[in-house]
């Protein structure tokens, strides 16, 4: 199978990363990967209310992931879904290792992700946006978190699956990754794949993350050097 838009197997979709897109937020970012667009806003850290949510040993990190009703061909009905709940959870787990939450007990940080347009890879685009938004908010971080999905189609490893590729891939494997320490913070996979392919797929995903990492850093530079 040829890739859409003449992409090579190991090539990312056209990527746009922009920091500082929501004026009211303490930090924010927009990430487009092809036709998938995620916006993330960060509020905090601030004293957390109601108090019963406060944690005695660390900052409470709240992540909310939501798809806009008009983000897909079939309108998304507003409200909670089981898929959305799981993505909130793995997104939080993907971001937490980059933060020093133990330094600020009783505080809260809110990370809100809106998917404006969805064409595969919404959780990875959301994590990329959230990570830049956290940095944009001036929250100290061990590293940026960067995220992409990989798959295998017609015997070839495909980076950053898009549209119909997701329907035909033998597996869908998203990761989140902190390049500085070479640490994986999100790992999911479903499909049917020999163990040796998993290794190759992870290597490809890490390469993709390293390219995205540069784009994330560039966006933060543009935001903060211009001002």
């Amino acid at each position: 199978m040829k890739r859409l838009n003449g992409r090579k197997p190991g090539e990312l979709r056209p990527v746009v990363v922009k920091a500082g897109v929501i004026e009211q937020a303490d930090g924010s970012a927009l990430v487009s990967m092809g036709k998938t667009t995620a916006v993330a806003a960060v509020y905090g850290p601030a004293i957390l209310h109601p108090r019963r949510l406060q944690l005695s040993d660390r900052t409470f990190l709240k992540t909310v992931y939501a798809m806009a009703p008009f983000s897909t061909t079939e309108r998304v009905r507003p409200g909670r879904s089981r898929r959305g709940t799981e993505i909130c959870m793995v997104t939080r787990h993907a971001l937490e290792p980059a933060l020093f939450l133990e330094e600020n007990p009783k505080a809260g940080i809110g990370v809100y992700i809106d998917i404006l347009q969805a064409d595969s890879g919404t959780r990875t685009a959301g994590i990329n946006a959230a990570s830049v938004a956290l940095a944009d908010a001036g929250i100290s971080m061990r590293d940026l978190v960067t995220s992409v999905a990989v798959g295998k189609v017609d015997g070839e490893y495909f980076l950053d699956l898009e549209g119909e590729e997701e329907d035909v891939t033998k597996c869908d494997l998203p990761i989140a990754y902190m390049p500085r320490g070479k640490k994986i913070t999100l790992l999911q996979m479903d499909g049917d794949m020999p163990a040796k392919d998993i290794k190759e797929l992870l290597n490809l995903a890490v390469k993709g993350c390293e390219i995205l990492y540069e784009k994330q850093k560039q966006a933060l530079k543009e935001r903060w050097l211009v001002k």
């Binding site: 993330a40 509020y43 601030a46 209310h49 709240k62 939501a66 806009a68 009703p69 983000s71 809106d114």
Partner: protein
């Protein structure tokens, strides 16, 4: 969830009231002056119509999704339009994920009535088979940045998105969203103009600081022929008949200017 303490809110209120007593505003605008308005259409790839409107820092995206459904029993040959609004937590620390709050519901219902009751959409043309199948038009308002006067921004974005919506192809029972056939039958471009009262002064297009200290808000919507198609008072302040008259007069003029932005 995560909120900032309201330090200085009371001082801010006094300052804005002092300015208002001289007819002045915190951002130097004239009483009837809008912040800069930017209207973009067709900003979403998966929607049948869309628009992004910025009024100052306030930013709203509206997406129109068109589907097929059943008509209401009492209107068997009318298409159905539904307006929804979500105050995404992205837009403001005061918004929370969850069921829409009363402000979001008011926003959606005022935009909905402004479009529905004035006959903006020719719903008779949206009937496929009487009593069984009609076109369903979902208008979803998505707030990206809340910096005051969401009402006017949302109404402007909704009308712009509808004005530029295209119908998906209907083949037998199935919709083909890849192929658009013709435009959605939209007849008018209603425009909503909102005032806030601070002290004794009436200001159009209140920004967020002004909304925080205003005691009353009035939104007036006009059709292309300058007929009023909606009124909605907000807030716990009161209104005199003279004030209403004065605001309607001002609003007619402002609506003519704003309507030119829809293309």
């Amino acid at each position: 969830m995560v909120g900032k303490v309201g330090d200085g809110v009371i001082l801010q209120k006094q300052y804005l009231l002092n300015l208002a007593s001289k007819g002045e505003r915190i951002d130097k605008r004239k009483p009837d002056e809008y912040r800069k308005i930017v209207v973009e259409k067709d900003v979403l790839g998966k929607a049948e119509g869309s628009a992004r409107v910025k009024i100052g820092e306030t930013e709203v995206i509206v997406g129109v999704k068109i589907d097929i459904g059943e008509p209401y029993p009492d209107k068997p040959d009318d298409g159905v339009m539904i307006v929804g609004a979500e105050f995404s937590p992205v837009a403001s620390p005061r918004f929370e994920a969850g069921p829409p709050d009363e402000n979001a519901i008011e926003l959606a219902r005022v935009v909905d009535r402004g479009i529905r009751e004035s006959g903006v959409i020719d719903t008779k043309k949206l009937c496929i088979k009487k009593g069984e199948r009609v076109w369903l038009v979902n208008v979803d308002i998505h707030i990206l940045n809340h910096s005051g006067n969401l009402m006017d921004a949302a109404a402007l974005a909704a009308v712009t998105a509808l004005w530029n919506s295209k119908m998906p192809e209907l083949k037998g029972d199935k919709l083909n969203y890849e192929k658009k056939t013709k435009k959605l039958p939209v007849k008018f471009k209603p425009i909503t103009i909102t005032f806030a009262r601070i002290g004794e002064s009436l200001f159009t297009d209140p920004n967020l600081d002004e909304e925080n200290v205003m005691d009353m808000r009035l939104s007036v919507a006009f059709k292309d022929d300058d007929n009023v198609c909606a009124l909605q008072k907000g807030g716990i302040g009161t209104l005199s008949l003279e004030e209403i008259e004065k605001m309607i007069e001002t609003a007619i003029k402002k609506s003519k200017e704003m309507r030119k932005l829809i293309a």
